[in-house]
């Protein structure tokens, strides 16, 4: 819809956490169309492990119709660190974004120090069940994992529950900034009415004291960098960071 959508100088926005009910095709399509209408250029949807490829193809086609770039995402919800390592070994090369839903401290710590994890997600509303503290941030700063913050609970919660969540998010973002852990702000939307424009997401991030440049990066530069880095790694021409095949076979002569 915006006139200068294809302007390369314009900031590109990404939402790495849309959560439509994938069995409801209409709802999925309406969420994707809404993302395009709101000004996003790239979206990611967590795929079910059992039918990853088929859903990825359908979603990529729906995104293409709406002139959106689609990134495949897997949400790992392991119960133990051993289970997390097994899942990472199995699925890392199958998805462009790997997020770990940290429901225990053991899993959170393992996820933070593993280079194969892109996003650390803490779904709990209760501050005592959120494990992003200084130790976690120190581990995450030495790997590449970013802290993912979903906006949806801020919209759905009211009163004391939202106050507690805002206080916890404020603490977590301050720690992340101190330890240079990148922050990604996503919608976590399950319906189009839970989706917000990128500038509105950045304004909501100010509620937990994220300054405007960091908030804008959290909905644009940081998620785009994660997807770009992983696409390079998953490319068949990738050898090692900084090394890729540019020609092979008869082309080399």
């Amino acid at each position: 819809m915006p006139r200068d959508r294809d302007n390369p100088m314009k900031r590109r926005f990404a939402d790495l956490h849309l959560q439509p009910n994938l069995s409801d095709v209409e709802q999925t399509k309406s969420i994707i169309a809404k993302a395009s209408e709101l000004g996003y250029r790239l979206v990611a949807v967590p795929l079910p492990i059992a039918a990853m490829d088929s859903f990825a193809k359908k979603l990529a086609a729906a995104c293409q119709e709406n002139r959106l770039d689609f990134a495949s995402r897997l949400d790992l919800k392991p119960k133990t660190s051993k289970e997390l390592l097994q899942q990472l070994r199995k699925f890392r090369r199958k998805a462009e974004v790997i997020a770990v839903v940290c429901e225990s401290k053991e899993v959170a710590r393992q996820a933070a120090k593993d280079h194969r994890v892109d996003l650390l997600n803490f779904p709990a509303i209760d501050p005592h069940r959120r494990f992003f503290d200084k130790a976690e941030a120190e581990l995450a700063s030495s790997s590449v994992a970013a802290l993912e913050i979903d906006i949806k609970p801020l919209l759905t919660l009211k009163g004391p529950a939202r106050i507690r969540l805002l206080a916890a998010l404020r603490r977590e973002t301050a720690i992340a900034k101190d330890y240079n852990v990148p922050i990604v702000v996503s919608s976590g939307a399950t319906s189009p009415l839970h989706m917000r424009k990128p500038l509105e997401m950045a304004a909501l991030a100010s509620l937990f004291d994220l300054d405007k440049p960091t908030a804008l990066s959290a909905v644009s530069k940081t998620p785009l960098t994660i997807v770009k880095r992983n696409r390079e790694k998953l490319s068949p021409n990738f050898v090692a960071p900084g090394i890729r095949i540019i020609r092979k076979g008869s082309d080399c002569q």
Partner: protein
């Protein structure tokens, strides 16, 4: 000498299947501002409704320019208007009504 109060005009789009009246809309915005910033914070916003088009679900509001980001955040937290599921998006913002209307013209699909 007292500095002149600068204002921002915000064009809003109401995303709802139902028709939303202007009182319902302003009640929802005031409610969101009050919940987030309290009466003291709300008193600084200088919020006022300028225009409302129920047919097109569009509205223009005015706010103090220093409070624009707060208003943006508060409006983003709206999930229902008069107990009807809804979202309110800011289409564009400007320092004058004339410029805002020009910007709105260019946004039309």
């Amino acid at each position: 000498m007292k500095a002149k109060i600068r204002r921002r005009y915000l064009a809003l789009e109401i995303d709802s299947k139902e028709k939303i009246g202007q009182k319902e809309l302003m009640d929802a915005i005031w409610d969101a501002v009050l919940r987030l910033y309290g009466e003291y914070g709300a008193s600084k916003t200088g919020l006022a409704l300028i225009e409302h088009d129920a047919e097109k679900n569009l509205a223009i509001i005015r706010a103090a320019h220093t409070e624009t980001e707060k208003i943006r955040a508060a409006i983003a937290t709206i999930t229902e208007v008069a107990a009807k599921p809804a979202a309110v998006h800011i289409l564009t913002a400007s320092g004058t009504l004339k410029k805002l209307r020009k910007k709105l013209e260019t946004l039309k699909p």
